[in-house]
Amino acid sequence: MARLTIDRAQKRFGSYIALDDVSIDVEDGEFLAVLGASGCGKTTLLRQIAGFDKLDGGAIRIGDRLVSSSEQHVPPEHRKLGIVFQSYALWPHMTVAENVAYGLTVAGVRDPERARRVAAALDLVGLNGFAERRPGMLSGGQRQRVALARCLVTEPSLVLLDEPLANLDVHLRASMEEEFSRFHKRTGTTMVYITHDQAEAMALADRIAVMDRGRLLQLATPSMLYREPANITVAGFIGDGMVLPATVLSTPRAGRCKVSVLGVEAVVRCRPDQAVTDQAKLCLRARDIGIAPSGREGLSAMVERLSYQGGFFRLEARPAASNDLVLHLDAAEPAPAQAGDVIRISIHDGWVIPEAGIMDKAA
């Protein structure tokens, strides 16, 4: 078991900065998800940890061992970690058993010990009848299981998973998600899971590192990430957040403060050190707002579009006070309004994005 320490990692490709001072501490036995859109640097980060590329600055340690820095580079074959590749990367010229046994053979493990461990690994992923098949004859889910067995048979202390579910059908994903989770609990292996799918990351990870344009935006538990995004980008990315300009009217009490947003007052969550300011940004989610009960005051907005989501409607509405914003909210059947109607929106929850996160966006 090992902790993984990434300390101010930097990687450039020509003038393009792929990793910009990324620091992440992964605890021993932790399941960390690295989340971001394509091109955000998450795959570059994985390749640095694995050792496929050389670091331009900073350092990466696995356990106590320095594996990557601008001066030192331990090649991938000596890092003793496991990877599950997005494309599975099963060797087509070997049987399932040979694929799984490869790492053991390289490490000098011989039969019968090797055969025993291969059988145990295949048993673990529920593929014990498939040892003599070729990878080409397996389904996507089965290939993924073989890749997992191959990765875990050598009992690496650190496992990297590169978008392992991206090539699978939706219905297979759920069962594989469960499988990864079960694995993590059983083996206690430190896992770094690269993905662009936030639902996947939230369901699996102990903590999530959100990346954008080579930078680490926030590293937090899924719940913290959703409830208290550290900056505008994370707020907009996670859970379809809407970011609105707001004025903080009161100092926080019990984690909440009074804000004014688009001329309407509301009480929302904030940091305990949130200062009174008229430059604040408020993060709202569809579930934080709703159509105000008649007679109550609310934000006046015109409905632009309704789309049926099954059981409820998603409304898109443009506030009268600010024409370049679009709010979205959910409303139960039957449709409470039509396109072109003016509704009043009430705000019952929200999160004031910390000041540092606003500056960050401007930079």
Binding site: P75, F85, S87, A89, W91, G103, V106
Partner: protein, 570 residues
């Protein structure tokens, strides 16, 4: 130092060692011979002198041969472009049937040795043509075979290399995004207008590349002008070098070195032109769409198919029939019929004639050996070129092209210069042994193996190698257990190309052979020069059979190959 760091160090030593070993090897095979030749041209015998240079440039034979070379190469290329270009357009863009079979037949002449082509066509015409006698149409005795002429050489060069133009143009046509054609048709243009205004302008780069390739091949061809030109004393530069070298006198090596540099310079002009046009190709927008839907020929389909097949049969089957018929008669001039037909010539070349028997063994072993060695070099070489993107090796990738792009005589002369004296330190001489030919094969055909292997690498998902690396496998083990099996189909294709080319070649071994180190090409050539056309034909027929059989055998694993690796596969 900890245990892990020692392992890291060992990995680095292994990788750098392998890399620089390959760099050294490719430099030895490509840069050294050409460099040695240039040195000889500037400083014959080791001393800076212009005597040899002046002698060569003052000789009228030099300029006659240069003019002949240029005329035959340019005219032969023009003829090849006309045939190869037309056939490529028809066979790639239209809906003719049996495309695979046609491609095989049309490309086959390229795989048959030029000297065999020349021999076959000679058997077809002329007063002693067994085939013409068979149908009573042979010209009167004493009349000259019309192929012993400049025009004969141009005709055969054109036919030999038309498939080369066909192949480059076809590759270009296949990369043409179908949207471009469809957009033209949608705009209301007729297929012919689209061809003229869209397809042909876009095909300029591959066409020019094909022309340059064809020109260099015509220029360096030895077999055709040797069989058709030497009897009528019509000499081109390669045959002039051959004759000069045969009449070995003082200073002759320096003179032929200068002559071969002259060919090299002319060939280089062609290569630079090709390089220039190839670079233009990068400016094109490439889309990843499937190939264009073929134009429907409608009622023209049957006539055009007939035309194409007639042509293929004319240039392929007729000369081979000529060759076959001559190989079956007991003596040259005897008409072929049920009473005279004999397998005696085959028995003679296979079992009796000592040099011919040796040549089978030599050609087989040298070709197979070169093919295997080149594959063993090219698999790790391709790894560094494609995946490690090593700059030194990218330059060497170009260097590896040099000995193949240069006419064969250039490399042969360079090899003589290199190995005439015993090897330094070892004190062993390779000259007058099979090893000098093996060296020349390795240098010349390296790129034939490298190209398919590189395209094989480009098709492999790199993560397959990375997965093995993560599993702890070092580079040598990854090469042996993961990479080699994955590129094996492409490597086999490359090996086969090398084997076929080397098995049939004459250009290099004509200058490098010695008693005991004959190749099949050399023996066919000396049979024909000695007037033994029947033996020459029998031997040539056997090489054609071996070639066709090996080409056909590739259908067994063709599905696993990247497209375009084997020229004769559609």
């Amino acid at each position: 130092m900890s245990l892990a760091d020692t392992a890291t160090l060992r990995t680095r030593v292994e990788e750098t060692g392998l890399l620089w070993g390959l760099v050294g090897l490719v430099a030895l095979l490509s840069l050294l011979p050409i460099g040695r030749l240039v040195v000889e041209g500037l400083a014959p015998g080791g001393q800076l002198s212009a005597t040899a240079l002046g002698k060569v440039f003052a000789s009228p034979a030099t300029w006659t041969a240069t003019a002949n070379s240029l005329v035959t190469a340019i005219s032969g290329t023009a003829f090849a472009v006309l045939i190869g270009g037309t056939v490529a357009l028809l066979a790639t863009l239209t809906d003719i049937r049996a495309r695979n079979a046609f491609t095989f037949c049309f490309v086959l002449p390229l795989m048959i040795a030029p000297q065999v082509t020349a021999l076959a066509w000679l058997q077809l015409f002329g007063p002693s043509s067994t085939l013409l006698k068979l149908i009573g149409m042979a010209p009167p005795l004493g009349s000259r075979n019309p192929l012993y002429s400049r025009e004969g050489i141009i005709l055969l060069l054109g036919l030999q290399y038309a498939p080369l133009v066909f192949l480059t143009l076809r590759a270009g046509l296949r990369a043409l995004p179908k949207e471009l054609i469809e957009a033209g048709l949608a705009a209301g243009a007729s297929p012919l207008t689209v061809l003229r205004t869209v397809v042909l302008p876009l095909m300029t780069p591959p066409l020019v590349a094909g022309i340059a390739l064809c020109f260099v091949s015509c220029l360096g061809n030895f077999g055709i002008p040797a069989f058709l030109g030497i009897p009528g004393n019509f000499l081109v530069l390669p045959t002039l070098i051959y004759q000069r070298l045969a009449g070995l006198g003082p200073g002759v090596l320096s003179e032929v070195a200068i002559l071969s540099l002259l060919i090299g310079v002319i060939a280089m002009a062609g290569i630079l032109l090709q390089d220039f046009m190839m670079r233009r190709r990068d400016f094109r927008i490439t889309t990843t769409s499937s190939a264009a839907r073929p134009f429907e020929l409608g009622r023209w389909r049957a006539p055009i198919e007939t035309l194409l097949w007639t042509f293929a049969i004319l240039v392929l089957a007729l000369p081979l029939l000529g060759l076959l018929s001559t190989s079956l008669i007991p003596a040259f001039g005897v008409p072929l019929n049920a009473a005279t037909a004999t397998f005696g010539n085959y028995a003679y070349v296979l079992f009796e004639h000592a040099a011919s028997k040796r040549a089978f063994v030599n050609s087989f072993l040298m070709s197979a050996g070169a093919a295997i060695l080149i594959v063993l070099i090219c698999v790790p070489l391709g790894y560094f070129i494609v995946w490690k993107k090593s700059r030194a090796l990218r330059l060497l990738n170009l260097a590896a092209e040099l000995p193949y792009a240069m006419p064969g005589v250039v490399l042969a002369i360079a090899a003589i210069l290199l190995f005439l004296k015993p090897l330094p330190v070892l004190g062993v001489s390779l000259y007058n042994t099979v090893w000098i030919i093996v060296f020349a094969y390795l240098a010349r055909f390296l790129v034939l193996g490298l190209r398919p292997i590189v395209s094989g690498y480009l098709q492999i998902d790199r993560t397959l190698e990375e997965a093995a690396q993560i599993a702890g496998a070092g580079l040598p083990r990854r090469l042996a257990t993961i990479i080699f099996p994955l590129v094996a189909p492409a490597a086999v294709a490359g090996a086969l190309l090398i084997f076929l080319t080397a098995f049939n070649e004459l250009t290099v071994s004509a200058l490098l052979w010695s008693s005991g180190a004959e190749t099949l090409g050399v023996v066919v050539f000396s049979f024909e020069q000695g007037g033994d056309s029947t033996y020459a034909s029998a031997l040539a027929t056997i090489t054609v059979l071996v070639t066709v059989a090996l080409m056909a055998s590739t259908t067994l694993f063709a599905q696993k190959l990247p497209q375009g690796v084997l020229p004769w596969r559609d």
